[in-house]
Assembly symmetry: C2
Homo-oligomer: 489 residues x 2
């Protein structure tokens, strides 16, 4: 690589990383020459190369500027929620979101639905059909309260990949991860208690806390490394917190994977303050890295971690097959499971167990991981292309959710209402906060098929965001982003 190519690569990286923002003026040729100890002409050649790549644009008599939106938008800065227990609000908007998810005329950019159309899922249809043809009487009868043994065996086996040594008897099958979370939350606390959560947090979890009259303390969370342990420790010192709920692997909505060291530190902290950890691993299998990341449960020594998951994101949510490995809370969880739903539908459990047993699960998982990773590239490209500058975008490490932060004054609710005319729906950020924060954020689901229609939808959303941003000064956002970036430093 020649000197000027080397310099061009370096500059391109800086633009990519958002160090030079879209529209920003680049250093003068003279100052770069001095900074890097290269000749003026080397800098000029480097700038030429970047110009060819359309990364920068020369402006007569003013020098070079970063081509708007050719810089990769920065990641959202660490969040700063209110640091005191609050009650969860926002049910009406959640209801609106989940009610709209079956509206076939609307493009569901806001839903949490996976892609269930890939060919690797096909064997499931055959299995369901065969089970019915065989008239397996178990399908019609009440199931064991723990769940179908064959499924619990498969779940225990799958858990090995996340580092867990579980026996089938450590697992209780539930009606989706929803029920797993619901029984776990009630197993570890009472109405009026306080639970700590990441901020932002999946709205289903928020609503569950609301429904049981539990107060929530939202902990600052970094979009790359996860919940702030420093802030959590402060909160634990100050408030009688009973448990912390985290989605450490392929977080919804931020997409991060918590580094193992931080998972360990979180567990130590839980031991130290004697609180429970509810670990929601519903997207964990969809990490783009291989092998998949460890669960906190795998590090658990004294049964204080309740691992909740389901096949909803990996296979199909309509099956409503989830589970919880509740550690020392097994008895309470069994009681709560019994009074919530009695037992779980037998047929779907048998079908999932058979799908895994016949060896269809791993190929399907590989397919979905690759599929979502590819979709992420395309959606990221679209967002850079169609959205205005001055926004922050998460860099998901798994799953299929993208979090976009717009300038402080932006109103995503209004955006959503506006998009309704175009039959497009997004998830507004405020759903992910107990107190309606993140009104300036939105979550996009990139499990959607990559089609011209989807691209058009992204273009429409981007244009609507741009129109709305004209009314609110982007500078505020950029300032906050830089503050955030330096905080993370």
């Amino acid at each position: 690589m020649t000197r000027y190519q080397h310099l061009a690569t370096l500059l391109a990286q800086r633009i990519e990383q958002g160090l030079y923002q879209g529209g920003e003026r680049l250093p003068s040729v003279r100052s770069l020459s001095a900074e890097h100890g290269v000749s003026i002409s080397t800098v000029q050649q480097a700038y030429h190369l970047l110009e060819e790549k359309q990364l920068i644009t020369p402006q007569p008599r003013s020098g070079y500027f970063v081509t708007p939106c050719k810089s990769k938008p920065p990641v959202p800065p660490i969040t700063r929620p209110a640091q005191r227990p609050v009650e969860v609000t926002q049910w009406e908007s959640v209801l609106e979101l989940i009610n709209s998810r079956l509206d076939e005329d609307t493009l569901q950019l806001g839903s949490g639905t996976p892609d269930t159309s890939q060919p690797t899922i096909k064997p499931l249809w055959k299995i369901i059909s065969r089970l019915a043809q065989k008239q397996d009487p178990r399908m019609l009868n009440y199931d064991n309260i723990y769940g179908v043994p064959a499924l619990r065996e498969q779940v225990a086996r799958m858990a090995i990949d996340s580092g867990c040594q579980l026996s089938p008897d450590d697992i209780v099958i539930t009606t989706g991860c929803h029920e797993a979370l619901s029984v776990s939350i009630r197993a570890v606390c009472q109405p009026g208690d306080i639970i700590a959560v990441e901020s932002p947090t999946f709205h289903g979890t928020m609503q569950t806390l609301r429904g049981f009259g539990i107060k929530v303390i939202e902990i600052p969370t970094d979009s790359v490394t996860g919940i702030s342990l420093e802030a959590l420790e402060l909160a634990l010192e100050q408030w009688p917190i009973k448990a912390v709920i985290v989605v450490p692997n392929c977080n919804n909505p931020l997409g991060f994977i918590m580094p193992d060291a931080r998972k360990r530190a979180l567990l130590s902290m839980a031991q130290c303050f004697d609180i429970a950890i509810i670990e929601d691993d519903v997207y964990g299998e969809l990490a783009y890295e291989y092998p998949r990341p460890l669960s906190i449960k795998s590090m658990d020594e004294d049964g204080r971690v309740l691992l909740c998951s389901s096949v909803s994101k990996v296979l199909a949510p309509g099956l409503r097959v989830g589970w919880v490995a509740p550690g020392r809370y097994l008895n309470r969880v069994l009681h709560l499971k019994y009074i919530g739903t009695g037992s779980t539908a037998t047929q779907t459990q048998l079908a999932v167990a058979e799908f895994i047993r016949q060896g269809h699960y791993q190929p399907h998982l590989r397919k979905m991981r690759m599929h979502y990773q590819r979709n992420l590239d395309i959606f990221t490209h679209w967002v850079r292309h169609y959205f205005p500058c001055g926004i922050c975008v998460s860099r998901p490490q798994g799953g299929f959710m993208m979090w976009i932060e717009l300038p402080e004054a932006f109103d995503a609710m209004r955006l959503n209402r506006e998009l309704r005319e175009s039959h497009i729906q997004i998830s507004v950020g405020s759903l992910f906060s107990a107190s309606g924060k993140y009104r300036n954020c939105l979550r996009l689901n990139y499990s959607l098929a990559v089609t011209a229609q989807t691209e058009r939808a992204l273009a429409i959303v981007g244009a609507a965001v741009e129109r709305a941003m004209v009314c609110c000064p982007p500078s505020a956002s950029v300032a906050e982003v830089e503050g955030g970036a330096s905080l993370k430093g």
Copy 2:
């Protein structure tokens, strides 16, 4: 009919109704002759006829006695639970009962499982298989939070038979009646509140109340006419009760159908004291009378009745398809449904909707009604044959549960332990009480196939009961029965 035949029929009826108990001495020939104004020889001829039918036995120099156990045992008297709010106990025994229900070596006389082997259920298998073959994408995706529209339509249509005018939008599909009850209870009260229940009450409902920290006041309940309105009124005057839960049609465990006038009176009382009624209709379709009895919901004017039901007892519990028509509590119920399980499995909902739509439901229901009614006759006969005298047995008007009351000092738990050796399981009465009452009662499920094995099991239970009863004086029970009977007037 001749005079002596007429008299014999009258005496046989009295024996049948338990007015003359097994082993009891019948009136002398002379006194009957005087009572009925017939000749001595007519009475003698009548007694001869009854002797031929083995209903009575002559004893030299003492007269005639009712052949032991040829009298139909009396129904259980009205219950007399403690009349103050208590906390529910008994979870361990419930867990034992539900855990044992999948033990294939054990004859499940205690379970709540219906017969799912009748040919009229066969179309369901075909429907499930077809749905999978068609690869209906709805099966894999999150359902509407209300439930599949096609199913809600069918449920609304079915509800007409119980007198209800419901629209599909009045109905929320749930994961079995368990979830319907669970969300209904939480929709109408808070932890620490008091709810009134029939006594005895289905143990699942009891455990749900326990799980949500709700206190229970058990109301005396008559095995023929249902909850005592007089006792309920007293309780409502004395305690801040939030709701009453009833199973007015084909009650579990007592089997009664509450007369319509009493249903109306209960509703008026609820209006007067402004409380909610949670009406569990899970067995209502299985009434032996036709058309089926009205629901209290059908009389509701201001949305205070939450009607809960499922296909578990009529079709198959493994499907976990239930529903609630929550009246004015719709919004709260939706929220609680969402946080409990998210949505209900789509596939089983579609299958049930299709089963009804194709017209398989009514023939199946007719079949099951007749089947259970026939089984009731046979099981009643077995109980009369194999059980000792001095017991009370319910006269179910629908469903497939029989309640047997043994002398006060009887210990059904011990009986259950003893029966374990014979691989037979019964339901002990104490599960149906908040405070462990009814230790001297047991519930039998007569949905079981009528086979020599089942008859042998009844014989074994009967013999074990007889052995145990030797240790406890039956007279106490008989006295209570008579007291009860007179109370009922």
